[in-house]
Symmetry: C2
Subunit: 211 residues, 2 copies
DNA sequence: AGTGACAGTTAATGGTCTTAACTACGGTTA
DNA sequence: TAACCGTAGTTAAGACCATTAACTGTCACT
């Protein structure tokens, strides 16, 4: 019942320090390069000591994924609350991704076949989607319904509030997939050689979203 | 100068067998799970024996990447030569990806910061782009030029033949990025929970490409 | 029939993650 | 103040992993 803050505070401090070293390693050489041995060496500790703070390599990675989702969700929400329109929102996300590409790939990159993110993490992921849908609610509903639109009418249980139209959901999906399409290819370097500016491609792709 | 086929043929045989085991491991548990030790065990060999066939783990991976690109390029080209339209082409690519998601991610997934694909591999990658551009040449050039379109006019040295219009290049980029956007998120499982059919989303996204 | 190239072996090095058992310290309580 | 207990950290050990070096046998060609 007593205030045992110091112990707990130190613990959080060290956990944070471990994550920071982990982030640096991943940013520099990718997730496979994340090494507990290297972290321990940088912190002047022995490797098993790290297990006091994380159950193992996987739990550390999971924590980093959670942080990345949290950071993205906060960034997107803050921008949306500041009245950013869809195009501005896209560039906020792009800037966030380009600041640390490997962090973006930690979230949206190659999945591990067995791995399933813990529920709280996917919940944060949904936050992002909610903001995107809300931002897309500004534009009205389209007059002509596409095949996918009518399909979505009967497959949108996952978006709880019925205050948003199906059109907003569809546009949010378009926004998300188009942005991710350009962004992930850009970050992966698949546009090098082609000398165009990906930012302009994004603008173009999202301009057609007005429908 | 003599016909030393048997040795060479056996060599290619074994190289292929190694790749097959590697492919299975990656398909099941992702690239990080690729283990030379496991391959050797499955082939009833010792690990160092594998080094007769590949300089190391990295060269084996590179070979797999090259094969994947080759397979995709051939598949796309074959479909295009059979007169498949853009939508059909998209579904051919999607089917190819869904048949072995990890193979798709081997090509378009999370990049390793240091790694640069060998020139011959990127050349195959360009083949795919060429086919896409060619397929997009069918539709004519748009009357109104977007900002990105005019930007692309001055940044398209990478597409050699001047027989294709800038509009075709732009549409090919849209096609590629939109398809990849939906497909990569689908394969990574980011749509699970949302119960819609990604195939219909792709149809919708590409339908708007007619512009 | 002999020779050389090559497949495959064993052995050794160094790296990784992980668990178990032990030590020592620091704060809490009697 | 003295005993105690939880916890951070250690050493030791096991099980993987990739890679290199040195050796052996075999097969194909001269």
């Amino acid at each position: 019942m007593t205030e045992q803050a110091p112990r707990e505070r130190y613990r959080e401090q060290v956990r944070g320090e471990i994550k920071q070293h982990a982030r640096n390693q991943i940013a520099e050489a990718g997730l496979p390069a994340l090494s507990l041995t290297a972290i321990a060496k940088q912190m002047s500790m022995t490797v098993p000591a790290l297990y006091r703070y994380y159950r193992g390599r996987d739990e550390l990675i999971t924590a980093l994924i959670r942080d990345a989702f949290r950071s993205l969700a906060d960034t997107v929400r803050a921008a949306a609350d500041s009245g950013a329109d869809l195009l501005a929102l896209a560039h906020v996300i792009r800037d966030w991704a380009k600041a640390d590409p490997q962090r973006y790939f930690l979230i949206y990159g190659t999945p591990v076949p067995g791995y399933h993110a813990p529920p709280d993490t996917t919940a944060i992921s949904n936050e992002v989607m909610e903001v995107l849908i809300k931002a897309n609610s500004a534009l009205g509903e389209p007059e002509s319904a596409t095949t996918f639109h009518v399909h979505l009418e009967t497959h949108r249980e996952w978006v709880d509030s019925d205050t948003v139209g199906t059109g907003a959901v569809r546009r949010a999906l378009s926004f998300w997939t188009r942005l991710h399409g350009v962004l992930s290819l850009e970050l992966a370097g698949h546009f090098t050689g082609m000398k165009f500016d990906p930012a302009l491609l994004i603008d173009d792709e999202l301009a057609e979203l007005k429908a």
